[in-house]
Structures are given as C-alpha cells and as structure tokens.
Symmetry: C2
Subunit: 328 residues, 2 copies
C-alpha cells in the first residue's frame, strides 16, 4: 500500500466534571468493595450531570483548534464521529457548529458512525478527502455520553462506560512522512446482536411499539462479545501484521478501551507490554471517543511522540474491527 | 479544481408496494379533493407496510450490484447514507450486510448522515477513498422510511414524504472523463430548528424525559424553511456557477425533491426548464434517497445518459446545502 499523507496537527479533549468512584456503584448495586476494580479494571469514570454532549464536543474542538493554532473558520469540514447523537434530525455536527457560535460560518457538518470505531473510520474518510485536494483542514470530533443510555440495574455496563469528548484537526503534512502507512476495516454482522441499543430506531420505534425503559439502554452479551471479538481480531492481525508491518516496527498502540479483559488478552497474547496505551482505569470505555482521547492524553504526557509509528486499533458493535497504522 | 475520477457503475432502487393516493390523506384530514396536489404537487407516494428499512435497502443494493455486474463480495466498503436508522447501535450499514445474508463477508460497514444530503456527502467521501487507492468499489445505499416518523395529525408533512431505497456502486472509471468536476457543501446551523425530529437523541431522551408521541415525529416550519433555504441557495449558486461552470454547460440537474414550491422556484429563477429532473409527483420527498432515486429512475428512462454533465444538488435539515457536478 502507498502511504497516504495526513497529519494530526491538533488534539483536544473534554471531560465532564463529575468523577464517579467505584464506591458509588458498589453501594448502589450492593456488591463488596473492590468488586468493580477486580472485575473491570476501572477505578473512576466521569458521567455528565448538566453539561450537554455538544458542549463537551465544543470544548474539545476548541482545545484542538488552539493546539493547531487555527480558528473555527479555517476548517473546511467538521465531522462528528460518534454513537451518541443530540437529535435524530439534524445531525450532531450541525449542533456542534451551533454550540461553537459559528451558525453563519457555512462550514459543512457531517456525521459518521461505525459504532466505537466512528472516529477511526472518519479519520480514514478524511484522509481520502484531503487526497482530493478540495479539503485542507478537517476537524473530527467524537463526543460520547454513554451514561445517558445505561441501564442502572446492570452493574457490568453501568460501571464500565465513561463520558468524554475528543477532537482532532487533520491536514496534509507540511513536511516529513506523517501519514497512514496501512489501514484495514472489517464488519462481521453475525455479531450484530452481541452489543446493541435495541430501541429508538425504526425496528423498535417508540411511535409504534410499547417500549420498556431497558429498550433504550445499551445491552451486551459480555462473554460472547469478548470471545467473538478476540477470534475475529486474531484473523485480522494474521493479515495486518506481515513482513513489512511487524509488531517490532510499531512504537505505540492505541486500542479502543473496550474492556480490561480485552486489553489484557491483546497485550499478553502478542507480548506487547508497555507499547499498549491505556486510559480505561480512569476513563472507562468512552465509546468512539476512547481512541482519540487516549491519543490526546498520551501525547500530552509525552508517551506518544511526533514521528512515532502508532497503531490505532479497535473493535466495535457490529461487530467491526478497524486498524490504522500512522506515522504520528 | 482538479477533476476527481469517479464512475457510478451501478444504480438500483426499491419501493414499498403500498401506493397511497391523495384521496387517502384528504379523507383522513377532512380536506377537499385536489387540495394536496394543488398545494404539494404530489399525486402518489409509497409508505411501507411490513417491509423493513433494511429489506428495502437490500433490494436496492442487489439491483445496483446486478447493474454493475458485481457480487456483494466484490465490494470494499458499504456505506449507508440516510437519516433513517434501524438501531441506535449497531449502525444500519451492518444491518444491511446482515439482511444481504453476507454476515461473514467482512466487508466494512459505515454510516454517513448529512440529513437529506447524506447520499451526496457519502459520495464525496467515497470519491476521496477511491483516491487513496485502497478502495476499488464502494456501495452507497440510502434507505429511508420517513412514513415511520410522521405526525399523522399534520397533513403538510404526512402527505409530503415517501419511503424508498436507492443504491449506487462507485469505482474509478475504466476509461474516459467520468468524475467530479466540482463540489461544494455548506452548513448554516442557525436554521437547525426549522426542520427537526426533537426526541430520541440525547437532548430529549425517552429514558430521562416525559415524552409525547409528537416528540418522535418530523416537524418543520415550512414557510421559514423554504425562505431560508432559498436565500442560502442563492448565495451558494453565486459562488458555484462561474465562468467555467455555467448553467448552459450542465445537461441535467437532479435536485433533492424537498418540495414542489422549492423545485418550482429553483427552476423558474434560474430558467432551467426541462433540465431539472423530478420524481416528487409520484415519490414524494424521500429524504436522502431522493437524489440517487431520481438519478436511477431518470437513467433507466433514458433522460440522463452516459457522458451527461449532471448537477446533483440539494438542501437539508441543518440547514445544509450541497452540490456535486459530475460527468456521468
């Protein structure tokens, strides 16, 4: 594959202020102290109180614009890449433009959704748009509030997810070899029902069906999802890692923070050790914001440096698998 | 702008079997015979009974694959580009893969949403992906069932919309100049509340709000939406049409079939006459499926021919405006 030039020149993030400790969930769900950390590997996560999804998104986007030293008006396109959405219509990117106070800017607003891989798939699409020469600077924002669709009677999912927004500014590199070295996406829809929000779409519409509250919440078959994802991930890597792309050639790996069990298996199975970047311990699973958030945090703390060969990788409801290897 | 090579090699469509005449709505809403045709310029539209969104999508996609002489497995990517969605999670492209019986194909499935311009924005993104050299053939499917989210107490919207699916197979042209000659997208979010489905997203979630049925239905401020869209459309064309892109150089125009009033104004204001392709009379406004459906129907009936210079153009909730000029 030829290298696709693309540079991430701005990174931003936003977290809601409310930090929820495990004690809160352990008391609520009447389980022993330490259960959640032992089981999920998570110590804290943030759940929004009053801050809206678009407000979180706007904060992250402004930080990314500041980082890249651009104004909103410098953008040629704003992509919102998330599972969460503000309204069924219009799309959420439009509402983020509005939240930024840029209602008359004319900057086009599009939404992309590939479940937890929404940011990664939007990054791939944006790389293509840069190639056309018609877009110079694209913002991709992932703003997720899974806390709003969790079943509070299910400890496993209630304590797993965290709210967050992450934003990236991408453009053609001014110099050097920054770009996509390799990318691959796959979807296997026989896993469609392993991880689902059943209600709210056309299949179970509140207008035409008697709905229970649980219908609007995230539901997963945790064990089957993990086993199926790992099986498909092995097939994925048997093709992705080859003579030119060895594990040794990769400096850092930023996986979707789906679960501690998944991260552990992945890290140990391929003997990747410290290369694998984590933020699940204090962020939880932030859905599509996980990957760009981890990239942003670990760039800020110096763990991921310019010039590093970074693998962005994850699984998503569908199930889908996606990986993009970049020179950062 | 340089030409971006792209060829639409397959076109397909699917309509639900139930045809609704104006008489049905005029009786239900107790208005005089002829009111709807006089007001909306629509004679019939299709509303689904038992057929699901994904079944419609699969039928259209199969027709497009047959037209292009490909199997599903020949695709490198399946994009679903619509407002309608089957589930909140996973995305609808995944459910279409499942409906096609291709659960183990691995073909990646992504959703794109720019309201009524979803197909057009997905086409732009897909053109970029082809440019990267990593995708050879991409299917874009728009499957809309607005009938499922209409307020049956509101005649204006109830009789305006129709269900439909349309699919396109795109790839690099094998020869000739097929491609995007020019494209432009704009979003002005000060029009966000002129056309909206207020409930079902995070802003008014059924889990956290007392909801009325109307909250889940499509609502528009028809007069303000038309005036605002036409105003922004004039600005759009004042930039889009220039010395190199004259109205005379365009053979056919395929507009989003938003409303008869909008189509009439556009056609008359720019004196476009027979160049403007319509299907609203028997399809209604089919949301994001409108443009690819009209393209498919008018290619089938010989009105749009290979080599024609075709302008694909529309407005969308947001509001957004988009135009792509192609050599078809």
């Amino acid at each position: 594959m030829k290298n696709i030039p693309i540079a991430i020149t701005g990174l931003g993030m936003a977290l809601p202020s409310q930090v929820l400790e495990n004690e809160y969930f352990e008391t609520l769900h009447k389980v022993a102290e330490g259960t959640i950390e032992a089981h999920l590997g998570i110590k804290t996560r943030r759940h929004s109180v009053d801050e809206t999804q678009t407000a979180l998104a706007a904060r992250a986007l402004q930080e990314a614009l500041n980082h890249a030293n651009y104004q909103f008006e410098d953008l040629d396109l704003l992509i919102h890449a998330s599972v969460s959405f503000a309204y069924v219509l219009p799309n959420t990117a439009t509402m983020i433009q509005c939240e930024m106070g840029k209602q008359n800017s004319g900057i086009p607003c599009m939404d992309v959704n590939m479940s937890c891989l929404s940011w990664l798939s939007a990054f791939e699409m944006a790389a293509g748009l840069l190639q056309t020469g018609r877009y110079r600077r694209i913002a991709i924002v992932s703003a997720e509030q899974p806390s709003k669709i969790l079943n509070i009677n299910n400890l496993e999912t209630h304590a797993l997810f965290g709210d967050a927004a992450a934003a990236t500014i991408i453009e053609l590199p001014k110099q050097g070899n920054q770009g996509i070295l390799k990318s691959k996406f796959q979807t296997y829809s026989d896993g469609w029902d392993l991880s689902i929000v059943p209600g709210g779409g056309l299949v179970k519409s509140p207008l035409h069906h008697e709905m229970a509250c649980e219908d609007y919440t995230f539901q997963m078959d945790n064990r089957r999802l993990l086993l199926y994802s790992l099986k498909k991930l092995k097939t994925f890597f048997s093709e992705f890692i080859d003579d030119t792309t060895t594990w040794e050639s990769i400096d850092k790996i930023v996986p979707h923070q789906a679960s501690r069990a998944g991260l552990d298996f992945f890290t140990n199975h391929y003997q990747l050790g410290e290369k694998v970047v984590r933020n699940i311990e204090h962020r939880g699973n932030c859905v599509a914001a996980s990957i760009p958030l981890a990239l942003c945090e670990h760039h800020k703390n110096g763990n991921i440096k310019r010039g590093d060969c970074v693998l962005l990788i994850g699984t998503a409801a569908g199930i889908s698998i996606g990986g993009i290897l970049i020179e950062f």
